[in-house]
């Protein structure tokens, strides 16, 4: 099966797997090397040779920022600059990760970009498409928050060009650190007239005549200086001398202090214990690690065919913002689909084969008999039984005040918590059958298929009463 936007799975998460920041931070926080992201080594080697070319040529967020830059004509006279900010954020991420909490999703540019595409632009595009075709529309709860963050990052351009890339982006900081040792750098040649044209066109402020140098850590290889130089005295050439990093001790100590204070806050998992309605996608690793390994990119939500995977707002705590959860009232987990695990770039949702996915217990359906119209109003509804692909909901005769009628019962041993019943319950508003994380299974390794589960599901002699659609002669 293909994802619903038609791109083969292999290319789905390739970008993230080349990202060294994800590799480093997630591996430290998870205490395990994220093998899916090992491709990032190529990018590190390439940066060691060519410098911070990723930021100037590949980064999609950088490209978007550049496009916005082109439309901004007026800026502040004195542009605020805090070049070391990106190194401090990088340090914060690494120290917090070492303390067991990942905050990557707030700063990782590729995750920010992908999430913005998913939560903001994807629903809009699908809606426009649905005006002319029959594609079902999608929506995500509170996507306005993602829009706000995205708009803020782009809005920073009013302060200075590429503000995010120069001052805040931890991936840029990481590439900057590596670029200090890169083989190729831009440097001035003999014959420079110090006309300062290059200094003015440089979008990242890497060129400074005061210091008489081009800072390799800031330079994103965009080539603008080389094009604009009237004397042709800027050249990209080998220069093996590394440039120096200039961090203030006070800033370093503040950053370390902040990580030590903030990281433990994220590790208090009260929300998970209290909620009981936080259903993670099938095959998600245990919660405390899930929050560290998930980069909140939104790939799984975009690929979910029922639109049931929704971004958390506060359901999983503040640090769980934008992590996926199954809101089965919107859409259940299709028994024929395992796409979320296939596209997850860090395997926070494990890549399970289709059959194994159907055996993952995400939770258990609970019937609210006071709301259920088969229980409370003697209606022949039983849509939940009809919707259940595993026959975990059985309709059995039950007499209430003299009326004998089929009423739904959940067999909690078979129920996987897929929520297809909750999605289809025909009563208005809250469903009368809801999924709670009762019996939820989360495994790092090993199969979800057990002999007991297979036997229970295969059992042909199921308890099944004759439907009340039949009139039975006595």
């Amino acid at each position: 099966m293909q994802t619903r936007y038609g791109v083969p799975i292999t290319f789905q998460n390739l970008f993230f797997r080349f990202d060294p920041l994800i590799l480093i931070v997630v591996s430290i926080a998870y205490r395990t090397i994220i093998s899916t992201a090992l491709l990032a080594v190529f990018l590190v080697v390439a940066t060691l040779i060519f410098g911070r070319f990723f930021c100037g040529f590949i980064c999609p967020l950088g490209t978007t920022i550049d496009i916005v830059d082109a439309f901004i004509k007026k800026r502040l006279k004195t542009q605020p600059v805090f070049k070391n900010g990106k190194y401090l954020i990088l340090l914060f991420l690494i120290v917090s990760a070492a303390l067991g909490a990942s905050f990557l999703h707030f700063f990782e540019p590729l995750a920010i970009f992908e999430r913005s595409l998913t939560l903001i632009f994807f629903p809009a595009l699908v809606y426009l498409g649905s005006l002319f075709t029959l594609v079902p529309t999608v929506a995500y709860q509170e996507s306005a928050i993602a829009l706000l963050v995205f708009a803020m990052i782009l809005g920073l351009n009013f302060l200075s060009p590429r503000f995010w890339c120069r001052n805040l982006c931890p991936l840029g900081g990481l590439f900057g650190l590596i670029s200090k040792f890169s083989i190729f750098k831009f440097s001035f040649l003999e014959g420079c007239t110090q006309c300062t044209v290059c200094e003015k066109v440089c979008p990242t402020g890497a060129i400074s005549f005061e210091a008489a140098k081009i800072d390799a850590a800031e330079c994103i290889d965009c080539l603008r200086c080389q094009y604009e130089c009237p004397q042709d005295t800027i050249k990209y050439k080998t220069a093996l001398v590394p440039t120096r990093l200039d961090l203030r001790r006070r800033h370093l100590i503040t950053t370390l202090g902040a990580s030590i204070l903030i990281a433990p806050l994220a590790k208090t998992l009260l929300h998970q214990k209290l909620a009981g309605r936080l259903i993670r996608p099938p095959g998600s690793i245990p919660e405390s690690d899930f929050l560290n390994v998930c980069i909140h990119c939104g790939k799984c939500m975009k690929t979910c065919p029922t639109n049931g995977l929704q971004p958390c707002i506060l359901e999983a705590g503040v640090n769980g913002l934008w992590t996926p959860r199954l809101v089965s009232r919107i859409g259940g987990c299709e028994n024929n689909c395992n796409m979320c695990g296939q596209v997850c770039p860090t395997s926070a949702i494990r890549k399970l084969p289709l059959e194994e996915k159907t055996y993952v217990k995400m939770g258990t359906a609970v019937i609210d008999r006071a709301r259920c119209i088969a229980w409370e109003q003697d209606k022949v509804c039983l849509i939940c039984d009809e919707a259940c692909p595993y026959n975990a909901i059985n309709s059995l005769n039950e007499t209430i005040h003299g009326t004998t009628l089929l009423r739904p019962f959940v067999d909690e041993r078979i129920c996987t918590g897929c929520g297809l019943c909750e999605a289809r319950c025909p009563i208005e508003g809250r469903s009368a059958v809801e999924i709670y994380s009762i019996g939820e299974e989360r495994k790092h390794h090993g199969s979800y298929i057990t002999e007991e589960k297979v036997n229970l599901r295969a059992c042909e002699e199921k308890v099944e009463d004759i439907p009340s659609g039949f009139i039975i002669d006595n």
Binding site: M1, R4, S130, L134, P136, P305, T306, E334, N335, N336, C337, I373, K379, V380, C381, L382, I383, D385, E386, A387, C388, P389, N391, S395, L406, L420, R424, P426, I427, E460, K462, E464, I466, P467, S468, G469, F470, I471, I472, D473
Partner: protein, 303 residues
């Protein structure tokens, strides 16, 4: 659905009124005026044309240039062999018949319950799209429906019915024979629920009667039940017990076809007749057709 002119209507009603005046003894030649049921049995590759021939041949339904809507059951993304969805080979044969009868356009329609892409994939219905004239359309959007009044409806006043079938020349209903947790069996009339927008509403009122009332507004010209295999328990979505029958049941009387089909196998390990199924009975009570199998002309063919 071909529209009846006022004159035709008058003729038929006058005839019917006269007929009631005739002494009962005239009908003693049993079955002679009952609805015709065509049952074909045997080789799956020839079933559809054999059954259609028994009820008058395709030419009596599809005129050259007609637009034909075929409504199979594609509701669930279940394994096609379990019987929760119509056998795509049967639909393909029907499409071929319509093409041979020179239909100008053939639409295969359903409002699927699960994700339409998955339902199409799992039901393998695309094998029936054998010609440019054949369109496969899922009815997942409200704008594909238009409101229709239900005259004399007790459970339904109005209902949103697919526009496609309101404008078609011929409607062919192709259900699969399966059990149903709420209605007992799901056959032809029950299959019409895949042509309306809000199915959930029917479950919130008296379901059996509501289904029968639905059949007063959607009247297929031909019903052909795919009973090549029947899902006799665990329906409508499966999994459950599937029995191989290698049969197809055709007829123009929707009540008669459903009522007859109930008797061709056991459901939930018990034998039932059509009169024991509440929705079929409700439809018969509304005068939509013959429920008593002894009043039907049953023609069988083995191929």
């Amino acid at each position: 659905m071909a529209k009846m002119t006022r004159r035709e209507f008058m003729k038929i009603s006058a005839g019917a009124a006269l007929a009631t005046l005739l002494p009962k003894s005239l009908f003693s030649a049993k079955n002679a005026n009952g609805p015709v049921i065509g049952v074909a049995h045997g080789d799956n590759a020839k079933l559809v044309s054999a059954a259609v021939d028994l009820v008058g041949g395709i030419a009596s339904f599809v005129k050259p240039g007609d637009v034909v809507c075929i409504k199979p059951n594609l509701s669930f993304a279940s394994n096609v062999d379990c019987g929760a969805t119509t056998n795509p080979e049967m639909v393909k044969q029907m499409v071929q018949l319509c093409l041979d009868a020179d239909a100008s356009k053939i639409m295969i329609l359903d409002h699927t319950i699960q994700d339409p892409t998955l339902c199409i994939e799992r039901s393998r219905i695309e094998v029936a799209v054998i010609d440019k004239k054949v369109n496969l359309v899922t009815l997942q959007r409200e704008r594909q429906y238009a409101e229709v009044e239900v005259p004399g409806g007790k459970e339904l006043n109005t209902i949103q019915v697919a526009k496609a079938i309101q404008n078609t020349d011929v409607l062919i209903n192709m259900p699969t024979a399966k059990s149903h947790s709420a209605t007992g069996v799901s056959l032809g009339i029950k299959n019409l629920m895949g042509l309306i927008w809000d199915r959930g509403y029917l479950h919130r009122v008296n379901l059996h009667r509501a289904i029968a009332e639905l059949a007063t507004v959607i009247k297929p010209d031909l019903t052909l039940v795919d009973a090549t295999r029947a899902l006799t328990s665990g329906g409508p979505g499966g999994p459950g017990k599937t029995v191989i029958l290698n049969k197809v049941v055709a007829g123009t009387d929707p009540v008669a076809v459903d009522s007859y089909t109930v008797g061709i196998t056991h459901w939930y390990k018990k034998a039932f007749t059509g009169t024991q199924v509440k929705y079929i009975r409700a439809a018969a009570d509304l005068g939509l057709g013959e429920i008593d199998t002894s009043n039907m002309q049953i023609k069988e063919a083995t191929v």
